[in-house]
């Protein structure tokens, strides 16, 4: 009896540690952003469909906004697009698109066909801004508060549930810095 006590104890302890690890570890596909609580990277990029206009991230300061990283080559972006269009209709917070490593023509056609949820779309053809945001796969959606700090990053397709739980819920605290 006694000789099984120690191995059984070790087994239970190990199982407990692994259980906690499995349950509490964030999904590998949705790694937490390294930018949480930090200032959102600055950028200055051309605006999709308005070649003469440049969007500077400083224009967005002073109120909360959402950055949605997408591309026409991205399957999950097509999946989430209808949800984004619905979300944008409620006009709770401006959604800025970041068209990542994409073709302008294809992107414009996409928005014409599927609807345009974006207040403005910045074109990141070389992927420099995406790197600065720590993007590793599209779609990714960032919530940035009025003080310009990244409060949340969602990896993967946006859904109404995620939008309510992680974005709308943060709005009341995202006001002025």
């Amino acid at each position: 009896m006694n000789r099984f006590l120690i191995p059984a104890g070790v087994f239970v302890a190990l199982a407990g540690i692994l259980y906690v690890g499995v349950v509490h570890s964030p999904n590998k596909s949705t790694m937490q952003s390294a930018l949480l609580g930090k200032a959102a990277p600055k950028f200055s990029l051309p605006v999709l469909g308005e070649p003469s206009r440049t969007l500077n991230s400083t224009e967005l300061a002073g109120r909360p906004w959402v950055l949605n990283v997408w591309a026409t080559w991205c399957g999950a972006c097509r999946e989430e697009h209808a949800a984004l269009v619905d979300i944008a209709r409620a006009q709770q917070v401006p959604i800025v698109g970041l068209d990542w490593r994409d073709e302008d023509d294809a992107a414009q056609q996409w928005l014409a066909e599927l609807g345009n949820p974006y207040a403005v779309v910045a074109v990141d053809r070389e992927g420099r801004t995406a790197i600065n945001f720590g993007v590793y796969g599209a779609p990714e959606t960032f919530f940035i508060d009025a003080g310009g700090h990244v409060q949340y990053r969602h990896v993967g397709a946006m859904t109404p549930e995620v939008w309510q739980r992680e974005f709308v819920a943060r709005l009341p605290r995202a006001g002025l810095p």
Binding site: K28, P41, I131, G134, Y136
Partner: protein, 147 residues
């Protein structure tokens, strides 16, 4: 026969070398920069593919990150500064060799502890059995006397 095998190995080695070069053809102006570039890019994880480094990955994001490393090298940044800039944007997960911190030190300690524990158990079992055999000579003798 032997020469044919040797020739096969030579072809294999050459083709391996070629495929490694095919993904990243970046050339930096000096040997020193080139060496640092290769060391750095081999130390950053390709975040899209998890188990590749950015030097060996053909995906677009990896080539963007290689360009970023190259530009920082040309701008005179040190290796530490470049690594810090990657960690700032992507977190420690981008490093294949993450730093020791209070949170991660267990990754190094636990295997050592497990090894020592296993060694202790093994020694105890061997000692106990040795003691059993040494004290229990009656069985051996009775077997002998039966023959």
């Amino acid at each position: 026969m032997r020469t044919r095998v040797l020739a096969g190995f030579v072809v294999l080695a050459l083709s391996l070398g070629m495929s490694a070069r095919a993904i990243d053809t970046t050339v930096l102006p000096t040997d020193e920069l080139q060496q640092r570039y290769e060391a750095l890019t081999h130390g950053f994880r390709c975040m899209q593919c998890q188990n590749n480094n950015i030097a060996d990955s053909p995906v677009g994001l990896a080539s963007d990150l290689r360009r970023d490393v190259k530009e920082q090298l040309l701008a005179g940044k040190t290796d530490d500064e470049i690594r810090a800039s990657m960690v700032r944007r992507y977190g420690n997960v981008i490093l294949f060799n993450p730093p020791v911190s209070p949170g991660t030190v267990w990754v190094w300690i636990v295997p050592g502890l497990a090894l020592l524990g296993g060694l202790y158990i093994a020694v105890r079992i061997v000692r106990r059995r040795a003691a059993l055999v040494a004290s229990d000579d009656s069985v051996v003798e009775s077997e002998d006397s039966q023959r």
